[in-house]
Amino acid sequence: MDLEAPPPTWTADRFGPFVTEDATEFKVATGAYHRADVFQAELKKIFYSTWIYLGHESEIAAPGDYKATWIGQQSVILVRDADGVARAFLNICRHRGAGLCREEQGNTKLFVCPYHGWSYGLDGRLAAIVDRSRFPDDFPTEEKGLIPVARVESYGGLIFGSLNAAVESLDSYLGEAKPHIDLWLGRCAGGRYRVAAPHRYAYRANWKLQAENVYDGYHAHFVHRSAYNTFQKFDNAFTGRQYTAIRSIGQTRGFPKGHGVLQAGSPLENKFVSAEIRQQYRDELERLNGKARTDEILENRHMLIFPSVVIMDNNIRVIQPRAVNHTEVYSYPMIIEGAHDDINSSRLHDVQTRVGPAGIIGVDDLEVFHGAQTAMSGPGVESITLSRGLHLEEQTPSGERIGAFTDETPQRAFWRRWQADMGGAQS
């Protein structure tokens, strides 16, 4: 393909060769990370066609609670209506196109346009036009409600929206990822999650570099060596885990829908919660779930729901593409209602100090993304390779693939789905 002169218009078949795979190698063309026309196609074929995470139920707990968020480059309002139904609308007045909502969150009875005062109910219906008399008698006011996000569905408190009315059900979309979400929900020990305010960070590179990174068990010892060496010097209080260059336990999973999971084979723990409190929490989990399932619930697990939301042990990360080379990430610490204060404080501070905006670990990943974007945007490099474990991974009858902790199994699942969405019919 011609790297220096990207075609001005997108066609479905042009994206076929971006991902190529045979028995010896799995390759992704670098244009997938830096070409502006690819980014525009991603918005249309992925972000505006499939399910995108909008928020957690606890962010809009009461009627009138709203949150401004994004589907691709479209500003969206997620709101709890008077009947308790979660709804989502495009953030635009039907009159002259003004943005309705300029706050990131709040509570309201009506959305009132700042331009000419048209107002909308929480169900999206046009409530009032200022000085209605100057509009024709049969002006179609009933058609001038807020434009709904075509589909809004939720699973386990996670609310997703899609601009595509014909998208498959969320339940079907989540598919094989659901048992892993259920395990994550099990950490609440019968209670519920409540989101804390997000940690927000940004980087100057493509959104997929963060997506590929969240379930990458191969990079940690190298990129994050400075952090791990430091943890060891401080009695390993921060993660309670010995680090080796290549972790020999744990697994990776890639699903046909494009989702993927990294499982460490042991819990992520620290020494900031006393043994007694930790045991109380574990006892309660065992009472509810039995020992074997409790071990599964507490296993350190990172999961990406294609394309852009990540569920980690203590947080939900939302990857927000702003441009082909500009990405924002919101990381919401998840507080467990009813859990001991020390457990919740530890969960929050773990994600904050480790992978927050000034994270001892996370910021080093961003530096790698910057370097990757630099080189991949230039001529002369056709592709990168995601082949680790390609010949060794196990495939189940459902199409799920299971690799070692350090294999690139979930990344390949992501890219297979990406190619299917970008190139036409899904395989």
Binding site: A196, R225, N229, S345, D364, L366
Partner: protein, 163 residues
């Protein structure tokens, strides 16, 4: 020297040690029970509310160790920073406690091959700083440092150094 002058001197020293990456000496300015806080919501309890950073001296010591004696990827090349301390206002509370408030403008850049994304840009950190001091046998120590950044609710880019 008056207590007020001692505090003013210490405020300037704190900024200079950070600018010069003398982080071991910087850490010594803090009491054993000190906290360091870059809030997102300065009115909330940082124990259960997200902050950019909210750390005790123990965790700060980890940051200093990583920056001074480990090869941190995000600090290679290293940040260069100029801090401007303005509108300094010092309140003494008896003989052994004091508070200092000032407006901070910190400009940070990383050179290296500065044409590459992530390098060569100037990042501006503008905020309201507040320090609490307590007099110990060995002199004044910082018991709390807080910087309320102007853009604390917006995405932060690459805060891999100590502000």
């Amino acid at each position: 020297m008056s207590a007020e002058a001692e505090i003013a001197k210490l405020v300037m020293l704190e900024a200079r040690l950070l600018d010069e990456f003398r982080l071991d000496e910087w850490l010594e300015l803090f009491s054993a029970d000190a906290t360091y806080w870059l809030p997102i919501d300065e009115t909330a309890d940082p124990t259960f509310t997200s902050s950019i950073i909210h750390e005790t001296r123990d965790i700060l010591a980890m940051r200093v160790e990583q920056l001074m004696r480990e090869n941190r990827h995000a600090q290679s090349p290293r940040s260069e920073i100029v801090r401007c301390v303005t509108n300094l206002d010092i309140d003494l509370d008896g003989a052994d406690a004091a508070t200092a408030r000032y407006n901070l403008i910190a400009i940070e850049t990383r050179s290296g091959d500065w044409r590459q994304p992530g390098l060569g840009e100037k990042h501006f950190y503008v905020g309201r700083s507040r320090f609490d001091f307590r007099r110990h046998a060995e002199g004044w120590r910082i018991t709390a440092k807080q910087v309320v950044l102007l853009d604390r609710r917006q995405p932060i880019e690459a805060l891999s150094f100590i502000l």
